[in-house]
Amino acid sequence: MSRIKVKLKEKDVLKLKEICKEFNNEPGELINVLHRSQEHFGYLPAEIQEVVAQELNISLAKVYGVVTFYSFFTMVPKGKHPISICTGTACYVRGAENVLHEFKKQLKIEVGQTTGDGKFSLSCLRCVGACGLAPVVMIGEKTYGRVSPDGVADILKEYAE
């Protein structure tokens, strides 16, 4: 019957209020506020959206609408090893789709999700400028070129602790 109850640490709320203040609590600055918040917290869970909505005096539905419209915003924390698969034209033509499919299968997650143990997250990228190496996969700062579905298991093994 009532809206979601939000739980946040006091210092996080203060930080969010500070960010909103930097942009004069202007409703028109929503995207910038969300950017800055994501930079600070790493992701934008419901709690953060609720505080931003209140501070900027925008409906929560609208904030959520913006977060889900732009692919650079995420509502789940990135994994310890964020995996990005390039789906730019060159990579796509060279089978990035199959590689992506294999990652999904092995990790049992969809794009935009993080594994239960918080280790890996999966996202897609537009061209990273390494078309010569297509298809390209990045894990954290490390780049893998000419990845084939068969190679996925070996790559993931590198991160087994």
Partner: protein, 591 residues
């Protein structure tokens, strides 16, 4: 205003600078099809996202087709609204929209009155190429007591969003996601019942597809009527009689009170009663409460809360519970007429006919979707048994009548039953903006001044503007009255009260444009506000026809107090006819 000349098809005409091609064409009597566009200027709505492109026209000198709704005319402009290129483009656009739309028209709740379906018929669509490429969304259907949301049918016109955000300032809805997955809904895709939605139904009233519809309860009524163990009674709200005829092809503003009563009797209801009776009762309770507060206030009581706000609109109640919980002591505690009726029916009337509460089924016919939600609130149940069992909207009643093969236009007129069917002119005007406060003023005036009214109608309280202010002379005391319809307007008056700027003694609030006659359960007006105005006229004409036009003179109300309630605001009245409100705002918990 600067005038410019344009040529549309073969018509040359002068229009005001800034006029859209669509409106210029309309002025020349030329129809251009639209889907996403929605213009209702007199309630402040001008929605032209330019999204669907079905209104595409050819403008000479331009390479691309232009959306007529979102393109301004220019001096000397030549427009072709039906070249083969235009017709072809419209078809392709429509095929594209339909490739991402479910095909279960046969059993869709909007079927027969759906803008999208009508457009497909109009454009003669016979095939839908490209379906294999569309990744149709598969959202779960969200069923609340009032509204059903089937987002797979959403065509992203975003009309609902405009109604919820701009007209109502509720902000329950926003577009989310993108591409084939885009849809409109509450934050985090929560169920609408968990959102700040008020169930005003204004989004449903404008959705061009089956994405947003009322929760249909006609089956429940059929089952109740078919059950020999049940006594089934019905109450009809004032606004229903002024709109039901539209569903049977009658012009807007046709009053069908008598035919409606006959239809209900033919359907097999055991007693046909009138919510208007309960509206008279509301005036007795709310009016007395108001005079009580006013007298205290005038005697310098600092505790008493002013102004008093009406409480008969359940969407409005939901609105302040969510958005202004700190002010929940200000509205009258009087229940809505629907709930007063249910409460009296299941006590006083049930005793009279010697039927157990559990065996009496109270059905109400309402112009409203919020009443469906209201009826299932826990405060309005006794041992789990609701005072009002089933609520149908005007549209659903029309469906039921059609299922019984009755043609409203051909039915003879008949009268409501006694005792809960007798009402006054004061009660019928509850259906329009300004009506509740006018009805209350008629009674308050006579009780306060001890004199009878020289003239019964208060023209200063009538009108269509979103916020109105008027004053009434009560024996030298100037009673200041505020009126708002539409929740955005209500919000302004509330902000004033909160800031201590409000001068009013009493305020009437209705959530829907025009009052209940513009409710979310009424026949669809397809963005034509003239229909709302015609219904308002119909309601006032019913008031004029009534012999008794003041609530406190209703003989059956007088009898109800004598036999059962005692007097207004008595212990029994409080128990059966009043309520209390809850804080339903969201709070940020800090851990």
């Amino acid at each position: 205003m600067e005038k410019i000349k344009v040529k549309i098809d073969n018509h040359t005409l002068e229009v005001e600078k800034g006029t859209s091609i669509l409106n210029a064409a309309k002025a020349a009597g030329i129809y251009i099809p639209t889907l996403c566009h929605m213009e209702m200027k007199d309630i402040g709505i001008d929605h032209k996202p330019g999204g669907c492109r079905i209104c595409s026209v050819e403008v000479s000198g331009r390479r691309n087709l232009a959306p007529a709704c979102a393109t301004e005319t220019a001096d000397g402009m030549e427009v072709n609204t039906h070249s083969m290129r235009v017709i072809n483009a419209r078809r392709t656009i429509m095929e594209f929209i339909l490739s991402d739309h479910p095909k279960d028209c046969l059993i869709c709740p909007k079927s027969g009155d759906c803008d999208l379906q009508n457009m497909a018929i109009k454009l003669g669509i016979r095939q839908i190429p490209g379906q294999e490429f569309a990744a149709m969304s598969t959202y779960k259907t969200d069923e609340s007591p009032s509204i059903i949301r089937d987002l797979d049918k959403c065509i992203m016109c975003r009309r609902c969003e405009t109604m919820c955000n701009d007209l109502q300032t509720v902000g329950a809805l926003s577009a989310f996601n993108r591409g084939f997955m885009s849809a409109v809904g509450p934050a985090f895709q929560m169920d609408i019942e968990d959102s700040p939605c008020t169930f005003c139904g204004q989004c449903v009233a404008v959705c061009p597809t089956g994405a947003l519809t009322e929760h249909d309860h006609t089956r429940d009524v059929i089952n109740a009527l078919a059950n020999p163990k049940k006594t089934v009674i019905v109450q009809t709200a004032p606004a229903v009689r002024a709109a039901l005829g539209e569903e049977f092809g009658m012009p807007a503003g046709t009053l069908v009170t008598g035919q409606m009563v006959t239809a209900l009797r033919e359907l097999g209801f055991h007693y046909i009663f009138d919510t208007d009776f309960a509206a008279d009762l509301t005036i007795m309770e709310e009016g007395t409460e108001f005079l009580d507060r006013l007298t205290k206030f005038l005697n310098g009581d600092k505790e008493v809360k002013m102004p008093i706000l009406t409480s008969c609109c359940p969407a409005w109640v939901n609105f302040f519970e969510h958005n202004f919980p700190e002010m929940k002591d200000i509205p009258s505690t009087a229940r809505s007429p629907q709930q007063m009726f249910g409460s009296i029916a299941k006590t006083y009337f049930a005793d009279k006919i010697n039927v157990k509460r559990e065996d009496l089924v109270v059905v109400s016919i309402m112009p409203c979707l919020a009443k469906k939600y209201e009826a299932q609130r826990d405060e309005f149940k006794v041992n789990g048994n609701p005072d009002v069992d089933i609520v149908l909207s005007t549209r659903e009643l029309a469906r039921l009548i059609k299922q019984a093969n009755l043609n409203l236009a051909n039915l003879p007129e008949s009268d409501f039953d006694h005792p809960l069917g007798e009402s006054t002119g004061a009660a019928v005007i509850f259906g329009v903006t300004g009506g509740v406060i006018e009805a209350a003023t008629r009674t308050a005036y006579e009780i306060y001044t001890g004199k009878s009214l020289p003239r019964i109608s208060f023209d200063q309280l009538r009108g269509f503007e979103g916020i109105r202010a008027a004053s009434v002379d009560l024996n030298g005391f100037e009673l200041k009255i505020g009126i708002a319809h539409g929740l955005g307007n209500a919000r302004k008056l509330l902000e004033d009260i909160k800031a201590g700027r409000s001068e009013f003694h009493a305020i009437e609030i209705m959530s829907c444009p025009g009052g209940c006659i513009g409710g979310g359960g009424q026949p669809l007006h397809h963005n034509n506000t003239d229909i709302l105005k015609a219904r308002i006229q119909a309601i006032y004409s019913e008031d004029d026809k009534k012999v008794i036009r003041k609530s406190h003179e209703n003989p059956y109300i007088i009898k109800l107090y004598e036999e059962f309630l005692g007097k207004p605001l008595s212990h029994k009245s409080h128990e059966l006819l009043h309520t209390n409100y809850f804080d339903r705002s969201s709070k940020i918990e800090i851990s």
